[in-house]
């Protein structure tokens, strides 16, 4: 193949990257300086960066409360996902009557987006007396079908002879999962942790429906509420944005490979 010059490719990609990055940079800049488009001469870097707005967010609104709520819900969701998904994933690697039906059931559940179940889901949560509670927020996402299949695939890749040997040695099923299969499925666990965390951390619609109490609001709820009470020129709102964006971004940058692997396996599995 003839060798093409590389610079047009770089040019296009730099342009695309700029479009993707500018909103982030713009928010970061404003959160650090409060200067908006009014800065003259215009620049992409803040001139007198300070953390005043971050302090402002901390004191002006119950940021810490939102943060604690978000962390609790995400922690419950992540832990529950690892437990429940690995258990179900393991069960699906074994032979049992109705296995085909179960897999089909899970796959069809995947065709029911959570958003189309919100009304009865709200009524059910109300019946369970879980409105306005951490468990109520966490429960619907405590197990995710994609991640069950991520675990299933990971367990199936482990040689069967290893499991048989463990069984002959008298290990219980429970111990087989915890002592043998899970330690060998680190990347499946990582995928689970990341996906479950991002989904629950960013979740907005469901908490919006079931949380009435300001004390129980999570970060996205607090953020959208904050939007309605501040002038949109203040730097505090954007400091708030940066503070909620960072955890997701950092986690993604640290574990990019597992994150993408999880999303694409899920996509291909269907």
């Amino acid at each position: 193949m003839p060798k093409h010059p590389r610079w047009p490719i770089h040019l296009i990609l730099i342009f695309v990257s700029a479009l993707m990055l500018i909103p982030f940079i713009w928010v970061l800049k404003t959160s650090l300086s409060g200067e908006n488009i009014f800065a003259y001469p215009p620049s992409i870097f803040p001139r007198n960066p300070h953390l005043f707005y971050y302090v402002d967010v901390w004191y002006a609104i119950p940021f810490f409360r939102y943060l604690v709520n978000s962390v609790i819900v995400s922690a419950v969701v992540v832990l529950a996902n690892i437990f429940f998904n690995s258990m179900a994933g393991y069960a699906l690697t074994r032979d049992f009557p109705a296995k085909k039906t179960m897999i089909l059931l899970f796959l069809s559940c995947m065709m029911i987006p959570f958003q189309v179940t919100i009304i009865p889901a709200y009524l059910i949560t109300k019946k369970l007396a879980l409105l306005n509670s951490y468990l109520g927020m966490a429960l619907p996402v405590c197990s995710t079908i994609i991640c069950i299949f991520v675990f299933k695939a990971s367990f199936e890749a482990i040689p069967k002879s290893l499991i048989d040997a463990a069984r002959i040695d008298g290990l219980s099923e429970w111990k087989i999962v915890w002592r043998i299969l899970l330690p060998l499925s680190k990347s499946a666990i990582a995928t689970n942790v990341i996906l479950a965390f991002i989904w629950s951390w960013n979740n907005f619609l469901w908490p919006l429906i079931i949380i009435r109490d300001q004390e129980m609001q999570t970060l996205p709820l607090g953020l959208s509420r904050f939007l309605t009470v501040v002038e949109d020129t203040t730097g505090a709102l954007y400091a708030f944005c940066i503070m909620v964006l960072l955890p997701g971004l950092i986690l993604f940058l640290l574990a990019q490979k597992e994150f993408i692997a999880g999303l694409t396996t899920g996509a291909a599995k269907g």
Binding site: L13, P23, A91, T117, P120, S224
Partner: protein, 318 residues
Amino acid sequence: MRNRHAFSEMSPMAFLNPDFFKRNRTRQLFLIWFFLTPSLVIFTLYRIIPLFWNGVLSFQFWSPYQESQFAGFAHYEEMFFYDDVFWKVLWNTILLMASAPIGIALALLIAVLVNTPIRGRNVYRTIVFMSYPVMTVAVGIIWQWLYNEKVGLINYVLISLGILQKGIPFLGNFTLALPCVILASIWQVIGFYMIILLGGLQNIDPSLYEVAAVDGANAWNRFWKITLPLLKPLIFLCFVIGIINSFTAFDLIFVMTQGGPGHATDLLITRIYNVAFKLSKFDYAAAMTVVNFLFFLGLTLLANKLAGGEAGAVEMER
């Protein structure tokens, strides 16, 4: 050492007992179902029961304050024949879905470019994908600010370039509001399309291109005759994600426009939320949900069929 110990605890004669495997089997079956139970309970409680309950609710007159009554098709009749807002939000939802191919085409271009052996391609991939995992509410806030009439960056740039004389309130404009929201949603999801398509590109056997090049096919032909057909299932998968995006766009709309002005950016999902939780008309919202679900299901199955294979959906859980 541990395992050896565990083994010695069992009677060595256990295997000779004909009941051993049978009893073991029952216990294993019990455990399998025990392992499946938590997930099953969650999916039954929050997917299966709600789906049917929702269907039932759509045929009833019901509110939290009154006994349920059979309504027949009353809600559907009202929706299809008397509710202009329903048709408006349905049309908006279709427009949002129809915008997916634009995002997919752009993502395909980027995927092809970052698949070439250039320096720093991993950095480009990361940057393009970075907008996907971040909180949609924050993305909505950032974009509604970029679109702002007085202090928005977009107006500022357009005025500086001499394209506009004075700022436009993009999100307050009846014709521009929806395209603007759609642009923000494409901005967020494009990295996800790119990652999926990139995975497909990396799976294509390079020798196919070499053979085609020897046969005299130019880059353009190679793209149309090899790359595109082989990527077909993944392109449809992206389209399914685009369809699902019409649900997940709720966060964006809620923050950016609240469905306004008028109902210019109202989608089915935002309308359902408002009717159910703001107007307390759960029964009517349930009927709209049924339509939304059937519409979604039909399109997804169609896309699956056209893809000629199994195209799943990963974003459902969001």
